[in-house]
Amino acid sequence: MKLDYYQKIVKKTVDENIPFTVHFDLTYKCNLKCVHCYVTEEKGEKELSTEEIKSIINQLAEANTLYLTFSGGEIFTREDFFEIASYARKKGFALRLLTNGTLVTPQIANKIRDLNPLSVRMSLYATDPDVHDAITRSKGSQRKTVKAFSLLKEREIKVAINSVLMKENVGEFKRLKAFAQEIDSGFVFDLGIIPCDNGSKKPLTHRLTENDLIDFFSSNSRTSEWEPIEIPDDSPLCGAGLNTIYISPYGEAYPCVSIRESCGNLTRQPLSEIWQAPILKRLRATKFSDLKECSTCPLKSYCFRCPGLALLEDGNLFGPSQAACTLARARKTTYEKPRKATD
């Protein structure tokens, strides 16, 4: 496959292990109480100060990070958010903001516009306020998020609906997609409900079952979307530790948001040292063909295995992930299901 200039650069960041893309949760505090939330605030732990965050941002700039995602928790609960974000913009980062949008006022929208972010993704679970508010367990939250979309669109800020599909809102998928089109917004959705970062499996009760997934795939997509994809034996497991890293509001660095094996703490160690943590070296050295069970699995070309989920739920970073197995089976069933000639 011929790569264009940009793809060559991205490949270089993978080959040379440059942390090109970083996800930084600035806070775990949030004004909503979503039923599927995986975040657990660590009691007694102090979140990073403004100065500590700026010092991490300096290190990321030095390490050549270009894409920096600020998320949480709810980023706008931090009073110093705009001080931090403006600082990051001055240092040349392309910012992506993840928010629930409920705290966006016209004044905040103006400040977001002045930041020139690459995109702002806002969590919207349903076009029906009752369905959305039942998920966020906060009355009136849907109305506020929808309002935030119009405030940001009015200011020509690139927005996207960020949705998680679960039992409560899977029926809303087509309406959410139509709403995104109507307001000229991007639309990203995730089927991956994950356990809490403290290991609690409570959020999983909301996850779609195999039959739910087959129904969802069959009624919302074309068969061709579920075509099997060959995975080359020498593929890395994912980008975690290769050209991305995750930073928690306590300064703890992890390979990604779901691989909760610490690489070190940025308040005590420099990024250059953390970037050589044993877990990252292990991830870099492991190829798909090294996964004993997965590399010979008949479902592998239907599978989007996530090492973090395999570790969180099944206890082995390099073993099968039951959640991925379920998804892969559903994809295969959908793909092999007889369909109308138009599919």
């Binding site: 040349g92 020139n116 690459l118």
Partner: protein
């Protein structure tokens, strides 16, 4: 003011990094990415809102094997083209 005395700087609508000598520039509003060649990347790096085009061209002349005249001509053309693409601003 003649063009060579003007001062180019990176547009606030961009985010960028130099990876292995190549400038990767994200045009934020358009979500488009540009990768510059070696000389272009160096001009981009030098365009910090403090140096004039002439000063940048002098550095290009010293670092690359080109004549003084060509260095200036190329720098002017390059800056003009990036300004047109809204990646740079000229003062």
């Amino acid at each position: 003011m003649s063009i060579e005395n003007k001062i180019p700087s990176k547009s606030p609508q961009t985010a960028s990094r130099i990876v292995d000598g190549e400038a990767v520039i994200v045009l934020l509003k358009k979500s488009r990415v540009h990768v510059l060649n070696e000389v272009g990347s160096r001009i981009w790096e030098l365009s910090n809102g403090k140096r004039s085009i002439k000063k940048i061209a002098d550095t290009i002349f010293k670092e690359f094997q080109v004549t003084k005249k060509k260095a200036l001509k190329d720098t002017i053309e390059f800056v003009k083209s990036l300004t047109k693409k809204e990646m740079m601003v000229l003062k």
